[in-house]
């Protein structure tokens, strides 16, 4: 049973770390802000949740589960707020790809 839990935990940890690496490559290589924000959401939500599950599977006491749930809840609450405010501010000030957008539903006709 313990070996099975360790294998599951290792899978979760490796997947989370792999998502972080993929997102970092995307952040380094993509060429405008909104593409980079798209890459940035992967380790912030799914990657972090996978790593938290990986910690939880190797825990020895049930009492530590509360802190893990707390981390997950705070991350799920704060990451969308930060991304929303950043994207909104950049969009309102013109944005990096002003002329390349195919659909732009909020820009006033001028």
């Amino acid at each position: 049973m313990r070996l099975f839990l360790d294998i599951a935990s290792a899978f979760c940890l490796l997947s989370g770390a792999f998502l972080a690496l993929i997102a970092a490559i995307g952040i380094a290589r993509f060429n405008n802000l909104f593409s980079r924000m798209h890459a940035a959401t992967k380790p912030q939500v799914l990657g972090m949740l996978l790593i938290l599950v990986g910690i939880g599977l190797r825990m020895e006491a049930w009492s530590d589960l509360g802190l893990l749930v707390l981390v997950a809840v705070f991350q799920l609450l704060t990451a969308p707020v930060a991304a929303h405010m950043l994207g909104r501010a950049v969009y309102r000030t013109g944005g990096p790809d002003h002329d390349e957008r195919i659909v732009d539903e909020k820009m006033p006709a001028d």
Partner: protein, 104 residues
């Protein structure tokens, strides 16, 4: 050297590469929002690194640090989005010169 050690080293290596790449983007980033996104991902990578270490050693001493990081990581992006939205404020926009920021 159990197989879990190998897993921890591989995950740590990937997270280290990710941290280096995000720091490179935060240094190069052409504007402040780009740097804010890179720093956000760096915080997520940091949480991942502390988590892998805690899982490998089966201790929970660093879990309060994860709580604090997941809460405080937002502050940087939000304050940058609120106060430093544009690197080059265009002087032709009259509502930015007299200080009123409109409905922003």
């Amino acid at each position: 050297m159990t197989w879990m050690t190998v897993v921890a080293w591989v995950a740590g290596g990937m997270l280290g590469m990710a941290a280096i790449l995000t720091v490179v983007r935060a240094a190069l980033g052409p504007s402040m929002p780009n740097r804010a996104v890179a720093i956000d991902v760096l915080v997520a990578v940091l949480v991942g690194g502390l988590g892998v270490e805690a899982a490998y050693n089966r201790h929970t001493d660093t879990l309060p640090i994860l709580v604090v990081l997941s809460l405080v990581g937002m502050v940087g992006s939000v304050s940058i989005a609120r106060f430093a939205t544009s690197d080059e404020p265009d002087e032709s926009d009259p509502e930015r010169i007299d200080g009123t920021e409109g409905s922003r």
